[in-house]
Amino acid sequence: MFEVDHVTRTFGRRKSETAVQALDDVTLDIKSGDRLGIVGESGSGKTTLVRLLAGLDSPTAGEVRFQGARLDRRDPHTLARLRASVQMVFQDPRSSLDPRMKVGQIVTEPLRSRRLRQTGAIPTDPKTRLAEVLDQVGLPAAAAALYPHEFSGGQRQRIAIARALAPNPDILLADEPVSALDVSVRAQVLNLITDLVTTMHLTLVLVSHDLAVIRHLCDQVVVLQHGRIVEQGSADAVYSHPQAAYTKSLLAAVPRLPD
C-alpha cells in the first residue's frame, strides 16, 4: 500500500549547520494487512516518517507512493484518496481535539470534508456513522453532545480513535497513542486498538518508543536510529535475535520483572 523510496527529510536550511536530518535514505514497504511497529528513541525520526505517510509533510529527497501513486502536495486527487483510506491517531488527545468543538462535530469532521466525499469512498450519513464509531470505541451515544474537556485522558483518546475510524479507513497510523495517557488506562486503549485492527482488518502503522507496546500490537518491526533504519523484520525475529547493537541496547533497557 505504501512504498517509501529512498526518503530523506531535512529540517532547516540545507547544508547549514543548524540543519537536522530527521530521515536519511529510508526505504520501506508496507503491505495490506501489515501491523508495523516503528521503534526508536526520541529524535530518531519515527514521527517524521509517520507524518510523511499521513501526507502532512513532504520528503526533501526520494518519494512516498500510496497505492502506486506518488504523494505530492500539488496532486489533490491522490491526497484525497490517501485521506479517505489513511487516518491517524495522535499522541496527545489534549492537543488533537479542538477544545471548542463538541465530540459529535469532532468525530464527524472527516465525513464533512468535501474532498473526501468526492472520492465516494467514505460513509455518507454522518449521524449513523457517529453512533456506530462511538459504540465501537466504547463511548455512550450521549458523549456526542459534550466537549472534550469533560472526558478523561483515556476517553479522549477513544474520541480521537472514533474520529480516525469515521471515514472507514483501511490504514490506521498511530503516533505514540498511549504515551500521554495514565499507565492505568494504557492497556485498555491498546486492547481497543488491537480489537479494532483485528475486526476491521486494518493495516496498522504504530510509532512508539516502548518496545512492550510494539510487541503487544505488531508483527513487523522497523528500528530507527538517527533517521536510518538499523534493523527490520518480523517482531518475533527482532525480539528474540536482535542483530543491530542499537536494537540490543533498546531491548536491554526494557525493565523486566524477575521470573
Binding site: 499521513a54 479517505a84 492537543s95 469532521e109 470534508s113 474520529r163 471515514p167
Partner: protein, 270 residues
Amino acid sequence: MRRAPLVAGLVIAAGLVLAALVSLVWTPYDPFLVNGADRLLRPSLAHWLGTDRMGIDLVSRLMVGARTTLMVGVLAVLGAAVVGVPLGIAAGMRRGVLSDVILRASDILFALPALLLAILLVAAKGASVATATTAIGIATIPVFVRMAHGATLSVMALDYIDAARVAGISAPAIALRHVVPNIGPILGVQASASFSTAILAEAGLSYLGLAASAATPTWGRMMRDAQDDLFLTPWPALVPGLAIALAVLGFNLLGDGLRDYLDPRLKELR
C-alpha cells in the same frame, strides 16, 4: 476579587454606551443652544458639571460627545480588525513569501507615526471625524495583524490542526472552523485595548483640530475650546479630560479583565 477589573471595565463601558444612547432622545439642556447669560458657570444643582464659554450645559455636551467617541472607536477598531485579522491569519497559516510580504508591510505601517498619517489624510481630505476615524483605523491595522499572526502560529502548532488536515479539511475551512474560534478570545482582548487607544487618539486629533469641526461635539474638541478660559475656570477643560481618562481606563480594565477571565490557566483560581 479577581473579577474586579472586568466588572469595573464593564460598568464604565456600559455607562458610556448608555450616555450616548440616552443623548439621542434626551439631554438635560440643548447641547447646541448658545446662551450668553449662563457662560462659564460653576457646577451647581441646575448645571451638574457647569457650563462652557458659550453657556452650553457640560453634561449635555459630554453625552453628545460620547456618541462621537464611541462611533470613532467602534468603526476604527472594527475596520482595523476586518482588514488586519484575515491578513494575520493568512500569514500565520502560509509561511513563505505571502507571510513575509504581509508581515513586512505591517511593520512598515507600524513604524509610521499615527499622527503623521492623520496629518497626511487631513491634508488630502480635510479635517473631519471620518478622516480621523480612517487614520486611527489604518494605524491600528498592524496591531491586529501581529496579534492574529502570533495567535495563529500557536494554534497551528497544535495537533488538532494536523488532525483536520488528515480529515481532508481545506485550509480556508480550517481557518474558519478551528483557527478563528480559538484565537477569538485573544482578539477580543486586543479589540478592547485598541478601543481605548482609539479613544485617546481621537481626543488628541480633535484637540489638534485634525478631527471634528466646532459643530461636532467631541471630548477632544471640548478641551480645545476650553483652553483659553483655563485660568478663568478649569471646569470646561477638566470635565472632558476626566471623561477621556475614565473611558480609556474603563476599556483597559475591560481588556485586562477579559484576558484574565478567558485564560484557561487561571480558571482554577476563579
